[in-house]
Subunit: 210 residues, 2 copies
């Protein structure tokens, strides 16, 4: 009992292989072989491969979103009556994911695959979890960007979410594209750059539509 359970070993190994090889490209035999457990244990503990995928998601997603909400709550307590700076809200939204990228390089690469997978019902599990986050932070931004029409705000949130997800999944790609110039030294540095970019985008003057 003091030792790590088969269930946890499966979750860890699946998370790692899903991120490295892709979800569809990873067979249950790959996972159980690397985890040194029996093939049937996946169906025993999780019911199916989809159950395992689901298990990998929920283990990380809830703490991630709770941390976002906690940070946002902290801001509301500090900035009573005053306007919360956009950068602070962005920090609450973005830093939990970036921290997770550094502490666990696997999960959010795996998450990125899910977001761009059009078929899976797993996609809806993941995105529906994000719906609450989107709404809470939309309301927070609304209070600090009062001049911005709501649909314009949501467009811009859409773009920043794209930058966020791409940072999750492809930060090794930037190292390559930049010829090694852009390195990922620490999480605060990445967060600051992303926040700088996105806050400017959110605060941009309204575009004149033709």
């Amino acid at each position: 009992m003091a030792s790590v359970s088969t269930k946890d070993i499966l979750l860890d190994t699946a998370e790692k292989l899903f991120a490295e090889k892709g979800i569809k490209e990873t067979s249950l035999r790959d996972i159980t072989a690397l985890a040194n457990v029996n093939l049937a244990s996946v169906n025993y503990h999780f019911g199916s491969k989809d159950g395992l995928i689901n298990g990998v998601i929920v283990r990380r997603i809830n703490p991630l979103n709770e941390e976002r909400f906690r940070l946002l709550e902290e801001l509301n307590e500090i900035y009573t009556e005053r306007e919360v700076p956009v950068e602070k809200i962005l920090y609450a939204l973005l830093i939990p994911g970036i921290r997770l990228c550094f502490s666990n390089p696997h999960f959010l690469r795996f998450a990125g695959q899910i977001v761009s997978d059009p078929d899976k019902e797993v996609y809806h599990i993941f995105v529906s979890q994000f719906e609450q986050v989107f709404k809470r932070f939309r309301d927070a931004f609304k209070c600090s960007l009062t001049h911005l029409p709501e649909h314009e705000l949501m467009w811009r949130m859409h773009f920043l979410i794209g930058a966020m997800i791409h940072t999750w999944t492809n930060h090794s790609g930037l190292n390559w594209l930049s010829g090694g110039v852009c390195k990922l030294n620490n999480e605060e540095e990445v967060a600051n750059r992303l926040i700088g970019f996105c806050s400017a985008g959110l605060k941009a003057p309204l575009v004149k539509l033709i």
Copy 2:
């Protein structure tokens, strides 16, 4: 001969199904059944499934990138000696993809899957094609954002690429997240919003790193 060739029917059908169901989730039998051609014709015309995937990519990628370069060249001819506005460069980079999204809703959803797929060698085909685009536009931005250190510029390009890809793959997701408020009326409108967001991000003041 005047009729559409089997090869083209296969490319069209594969592109459509890859985008709708996912690459791994689409079997050659799915494709050939919908295309009303024989199963073996895939291997005859393309050698393998990977060959077909490759065919779907190269048919669209080259015209896309050529259009980007053409628009960039036009700018260089117009703005001789003068600084090219960042918005104009962004337009050259972004509008070909957005136009493709509207004229062909399938391909760039398919492309989004490839970008977030860590395993496939198809990924490298796709990304290596983008390497030239990245470098050409990096140099263009460099001339118009002279105060910005190169590595900072590349970070910001990384973020805008994320916003771009997310716009390709998930613009239906925004419609859903926004509760139908954000609609995709026409390509120029989407482009203007994305350009507004990204140009502000590129021109943002330098962040002070701790």
